[in-house]
Structures are given as structure tokens and as C-alpha cells.
Symmetry: none
Subunit: 206 residues, 4 copies
DNA sequence: AATGAATGAGAATTCATTCAT
DNA sequence: AATGAATGAATTCTCATTCAT
């Protein structure tokens, strides 16, 4: 009698092993054989649960995105004001569990590969537009309509940039610090720009 | 004697072909054979000019970094005030020639791979610290000493984040727009945060 | 489940094919592809059973050595006196099955390569010291202690030399003849050297 | 004006580099490029002085054989009695200059390869028969006609075996010791076998 | 459900050789 | 005479995938 319902278990094992392997070795060196070995299963079984390597990669990226989304949603549920909701998005993106070295490296690998892989690209687009949509919705309540688009774009870029710097840095990541910087940036987006302090600087902007 | 002075020519061809190939196919699918084919030479000749694939990749990344640096330096030479110099750094990073689709994709691929490849990692670190050092030096002239570090970190992250978004976006990149956003962010870093304008917003911060 | 227990079968096939191929083509021309072809398997499978080419070569040499050892041990089991045991060692080394042309050629190839390959070198050293130890132990019972070392060295060298001449000769090998020569040499080692027959010859030795 | 008569010089350089390279790396790893590099010339020039790699290898082996022959001939010129001449052959084979590690390793490599390479095989056969012929001629003056053949064969084999052991040994080679063992063996070949010392041993011989 | 045997393509790299200069 | 650029084949090894069991 076969073990029942192994499907989700095995899939989870393989997805986890995929993220780990990509995070540790990079996309180019993450072979099915290595992933299977890390998952503690035979290489043959991978194709029993996933159509091909691409399907496995897609599932892995979907898992990463889903974890991130959960991290944000969890915090959104506790927020009530627009500002709180924006902080929730920021903090959700910088949640501690998102910063394990291998996970961050896997993220970057997926981003790089998504340029060339349509399935991954689609996943990333869906996620990115969802994030933008979240941000934009709250921004509308806080900034002038003319500035919503830029403010959203700017905050989203800063979040990504902070993440990227963390991914590439060899130092341990202080998620709180990243969050604070993003919150601070958000603060400046909300307030009207102060009058130019000194003429010379104003000149420099031109 | 053989055709003299082919070395720099071939090396340049191969480096260009490498960046193109990585940009189009991604790191994982950029094989020496494909690179050689794109450069219009035989696969064997690659190892006549580069010790191994890694040396070729390193040279390609070095080339990308060098182009970026030139782009910044060119603008720094025309700048005189600290603010102008910061704008030079921003604009240099967002120069039009830096935004060809394949080039940007190659950049991302190198960043992702740099996590796992010591030689690439070293190159990236050198470049990153040079950028930081440039920014920090000018920041010191413009913001309170206590805020130099954070301001530098924040601006550098935003530059990277804007770049990353451009890299991943399928839309054509408007470098001027990215520059404007970064300049605007820089503006907010320089000025002291204004007093909370209205109580309701203050409440939203809580 | 896959075809079970293929491991020892395939390994045996591949080892046999390796010895055959090296024996026929020499070390330099024995490629993994040719070996696989001779074994009737695909080139890829070789690395499923052996870590790399070196491991395959090592296994092949180990096999040759083991066959030789068995040939000696089989005869040692039937011997009772020291002299019989020495003859067993000689005859074991010159057993007919050790003289198939390809096998002898493989032996020579391995010896030559062992100089440059640490793993093969180690195998050869283990085997050589085992042979010496066997010989020395029996020699102790038959010759004066002062002469054990030289007698052992001399007999071992003669065995190797006879083998080598056979290996390089294009004529069919008469193992019995080689054995007889070695036994004869052994006989001279056992007896005290006769007094110098004529002074002039003694002088020539000096 | 081109340098005149470079031909023998370059050929000599290349032959020396070939022997060195084969001795250090083995036959399989001695490529034309490596040989040229060691000789301090470009890889292209090799084919200006030698038809192909095989011709270079053949010339190198011919050089080794010639050196050995010179070593013997030099000593033969000083010898007058048959025994002295046999000693000259032995000592010539074990001359110190023949025992540089790389040279001995090159010898072994050539022997192994000679099995598969007709040109090398021919060279080796010519040399071997010359050595045999030398030995046999002198043996005829010293031993009973019925034993000339075996005595020659035995002595030649011992010389080769001692050499082989030296080649494979990691220890420094004591050429004098090898010479002494061969001379001693020769001594036993010349004298009539003594009467059996004890019946039991005689029985063991049967 | 699961194994691991097996394949054949493709990877990086090295090679002997040729050739324009 | 000599260089080193250039080729295309061959090398070892890894890969995704299939399949009998």
C-alpha cells in the first residue's frame, strides 16, 4: 500500500531544496541532480512531481513570492490607517525571515533569470504590480494625485535597492535599519518640499 | 610573423560578445561556444586570449564597470559644487548608454553571479565602495555629520533600486525620469525634516 | 526500481574495457569515450559508476594487481617449504593468464603512468612492497642475513625485467622459460659464492 | 640576414625539451605547446623542424638511445677482456648521467608507448638487439655454448629490471649498487653451478 | 511512489596543425 | 627563421530527461 498524499510533501521538499540550492550555488549551477540530492530523493522522482526543470523553478519562485506576500498580508491585517498600511508593506518586505542569506541570493538569481524566462517573468510581473498597486492605493490617501505615481515608483525602487544592497553585501543584514531608511524616505514623500534653503543650491538643481 | 596586435582587438570582440550573450541569454546559458560564435571566431581561440571562462567573465564585468565609471567621471569633470558632483554621480549611473536592454540585463546577471563567484564579487565590491566613497565625500559637505552615513546608503540604494526596476521592466527606460527621482530624493536628504505640518498626518505616523 | 545490482556488473565491464583499451592503444589514447564504446555503454554512464577518469584508471590498476596477487596466493597456498614459496611467487608472477598481450601492455602503461599519478603510484608501491616482503620473508630462511636484502632486490628486479622483456618482445611469450630463468637465478643466490677462479677476473671486478 | 645553421641547434633544443617534458609529465600530458614553451620557442616552429609530433617523439627517443649507446661505447673502448667488456655494458647502462629522474621516467614512457607506436617500436628493437648482440658476443667467450642464450637473456633482463625498479622507486638511485648486483649476477652465470649443498633443498628444486 | 540506470547532447578546455605575416 | 593567431576536432565531465523495475 503506497503512502497516501505524499504529493504536497514531496513538492514542498523539492521546492525548498531548489531555493536552497539556487541560493547557495546560483542559478547556473543548480542542477536537478543536486537539488534532488539536497532533498534526499532520487533524481528521477523530480519529474514525477514536476513536468520539467522549468516547472520546478517556477514553483520555487512562486513559493518565494508567496512567502513574501504572506509576510506583507500578515502585517496589513493589523494596520488600519494608510500610513500604517504603507509601513506594513515596507516591514513585510524587510521581515527577518526574508533575509536569510540563501533566500536573498535565490531572489536575486530569480530576478536575473526572469529576464530570460517567460514563466518567471510573468510571476515577477504579477508580484511587482501587486506591490505597486498596494503602495499606490495607500499613497492616494496621503499625497497629491499628481505625485502618487512618482512617489509609488520611488518607494518601490528604494525597497528593491535596499534589498539588493543587502543581498550583495557580505555583512549581516540589519532589517530594522533598512526599514527605518525606507520609512524615512516615505516621510519625505508625504510632505511638500520645503522652500529652497539657499539660492546657490537651487541653482545647482537646474 | 602573425597578424600583429590582434590581442586587444580579439579581447575586445570577445568581451563585447560576452556582454551581449549574457544580456540576451542570461548567465546560465552563455556558453563559450555561443560567445565565440557571436564574436565570429572559433571556440578554441577564446582560450588563447583568456585563461578560462572565468577570466573572460571577469574581463567582461570589468568592462561594464569601467564603462560606468567613465560615464560618472566624465560628468564629475564638469562639476564644481558638491551638489553638482552628486548629480554627476546620479546622472552618470543613469546615462543613456548604460540602459541598452542587453547591457542592463548583463549587469543584473553579473550581480547575481557575483554572490557565488569570488572574482566577480571582488570587482563589484571595489566598484560599490568607490561609488559610496564618492557619494559620502560630497554628502559631508551638505548634510549633518550624523546623517552622512544614512544619506549615502539611502541614495546608493535608490540608485540601485531604480536601476533594478528598469532592468526588470519590459518597458523602454526613461533615464531622465530615473535621474529626476534620484535627484528629488537627494533633495529631501539635504534639508532638515520639516515640522509635522498637520496633526492628522502626525497621527497617521503612529 | 531500476535494474538492481548493476553496479558491480557495470563496474566490472568498464574495468575490463579499460584494461583492454589501455593495452591496445596505450595510456595516452585510451579515452573515456573509447572505453565506454568497448564496454558497450554510453559515455555518460562511466561517470555514474566512477567519480572521474582517474577513479576508473585506479580501479583498473587495482584489478590488475589483484589478479596478480591471486595468482601468487593460489600457488602460495600449495607451498610448504620456503623454497616452494619462492617458486610460488615466481610462478605466480609468470602465470599464463598474466601474459596476454594486452594485459602486459596495460601493465607497462600503468607503470609508466604511475610515476606521474599519485593514486596509481600508491597502488604500485603497496604491491611492490608486498612482493618484496613475501620474498624477503622466505629469503631469510635460505640465505645469510647479510645477503637477504640484496638477494631480494635482485630476484625482484629479475622478475620485473623478464616481464618487461616479454612485454616489449613481439614474440609469443614462453612463461615456463621465464620461470626457469628466475628459478635458476634464485638458485645462485642461495649458494655461497665460489672462490674467485682466476686472479685476473677478480681484478676486473674491482 | 637570417641566422645560419640554426637547424641542429633548434632541433637539439626541442629534443631536450621533449625528453624533459615527457619525463616530468608523462607521455599523455606532453603536448607540443608545452614542449615548445619549455624550449622557449613558439609552438609553430616545431613543425618547421619536425614533420609532426611523432617525428619529434621519434627523434627524442633516438636521442635517448644514442646517449645510452655512447655511454656503453665509451666504456667498451677502455675494455680489453670479455669480462671487462661485459662490465662495460653493465656500467654503461647504469652510468650516473642515465639516472636523472626525468630521464629515467622518459625512458619508461617511451618503452610503454613503443608498444603502440611503430616508429618507436622499431627504434627500441634495434637498440635491444644491439645490446643482446654485444652481450652474446662476450658471453660466448665465457660460458658454455649451450648456456650463452639463456645467460644473455637473463643478464639483459636483470639490467632492465634493475632499471625499471629504479625508475619506479621514489628513492634516489644508487647506480653503483645496481651495477654491483648485475655484476654479481653475471658472476654466477659464468661459474658452473656448485654441487647441491643439501639433499632437502635439491628436492625442493624438483 | 520511487529508484537509480541509462542516454545523448552539450559544457569547458586542450590539442596538433596550418598559415599569414 | 620565426611568430602567434586561428581552426576544428577531441578530451573529460555534467546535464535534463526517460524508463524498466
Amino acid at each position: 500500500m503506497p503512502k497516501m498524499g505524499m504529493k504536497p510533501v514531496r513538492r514542498g521538499q523539492l521546492i525548498g531544496a531548489t531555493i536552497q540550492t539556487i541560493g547557495e550555488l546560483g542559478f547556473a549551477d543548480a542542477s536537478v541532480i543536486k537539488i534532488a540530492k539536497r532533498a534526499g530523493v532520487s533524481p528521477g522522482i523530480v519529474h514525477h512531481y514536476f513536468a520539467d526543470k522549468n516547472a520546478l523553478l517556477e514553483a520555487a519562485m512562486r513559493d518565494l513570492l508567496s512567502q513574501l506576500r504572506q509576510s506583507v498580508i500578515k502585517r496589513l491585517d493589523l494596520a488600519s490607517t494608510p500610513m500604517e498600511r504603507l509601513h506594513a508593506v515596507i516591514d513585510g518586505n524587510f521581515a527577518a525571515e526574508q533575509f536569510h542569506t540563501t533566500t536573498v541570493a535565490a531572489w536575486l538569481a530569480f530576478w536575473a533569470q526572469a529576464i530570460h524566462n517567460p514563466a518567471l517573468r510573468r510571476l515577477r510581473l504579477i508580484n511587482a504590480s501587486r506591490l505597486r498597486s498596494n503602495l499606490r492605493h495607500e499613497m492616494k490617501a496621503l499625497v497629491h494625485p499628481d505625485r502618487v505615481s512618482n512617489a509609488t515608483f520611488s518607494l518601490a525602487a528604494l525597497i528593491d535597492g535596499l534589498w539588493l544592497n543587502a543581498a550583495l553585501s557580505s555583512q549581516t543584514i540589519d532589517a530594522g535599519h533598512l526599514s527605518a531608511i525606507a520609512r524615512n524616505h516615505l516621510g519625505t514623500l508625504l510632505t511638500p518640499p520645503p522652500p529652497p534653503p539657499i539660492p546657490s543650491l537651487e541653482h545647482a538643481h537646474a
